[in-house]
Symmetry: C2
């Protein structure tokens, strides 16, 4: 048993990296659900869904209460807050006006310097550079 340290946030981000599990969280945002209620919309065996739920539970994203033969799950927002906080560290990179200006300058620089030698100067961008300043969709699930 080696058990090399796995940071808790590893398991949170891992849990969130699966669409099925994200949909389950969305469902739980509406209120408590049993295991079979959570499983129902997903095209997979109950056992598979049960595993997903266990992953969410392992990440601390949900908690379950056992009432007789049914297990009631509810959202546990703590780890989501932690992940949110973690990402907030990078907020300045997508909000700061300075940074936007910086990026624009870099792109402009890339265009004008497309033909000159790239020898010692460590900040040129000769790559194809498709205009991608807008953040991607976000969407459901």
């Amino acid at each position: 048993m080696v058990e090399l340290q796995t940071h808790p946030i590893d398991t949170v981000f891992h849990a969130l990296s699966d669409g099925t599990r994200r949909r389950m969280l969305r469902e739980l945002a509406q209120g408590e659900r049993t295991v079979s209620q959570l499983a129902e919309p997903h095209d997979m065996s109950l056992a598979a869904a049960s595993k997903h739920i266990k992953v969410l539970e392992g990440a601390g994203l949900i908690r379950r209460e056992i009432h007789g033969r049914t297990h009631l799950c509810r959202l546990e927002p703590g780890p989501l807050a932690t992940a949110h906080e973690w990402l907030t560290f990078y907020e300045r990179f997508w909000t700061s006006r300075l940074d936007i200006l910086e990026r624009l300058l870099r792109e402009e620089d890339a265009q004008t310097s497309a033909q000159d030698e790239i020898r010692k100067s460590p900040l040129k961008s000769p790559a194809p550079q498709k205009s991608e300043t807008e953040p991607e969709t976000g969407e459901d699930q």
Copy 2:
């Protein structure tokens, strides 16, 4: 080639689920870095680090500019903003006073109703229930 749809945010959360990659992002928050600069602090082969960098690139979290034989990487905050936004949906669950009250009531209810029958009422919590209201560490990496 089946290629079942993988949501972009899947790859973002997956990229973030690894400590090595999160440390690389932190490093890139300080400024641009070459592949070997990013690899250096990590106890693994350059090839392994290179793979991590490719994962980050695949998730759109970084972008690289090739200058001769060196690859300069820089942070691309868009996907981080997307993930942050995604998590923001759940913000009300960890901020709302109403929700805190709700949770407190639920815990109190659990204590007082520990001995009465749990038959038809769908909102009882008889589980051991260790007090966990505080969000976990957050920390570095």
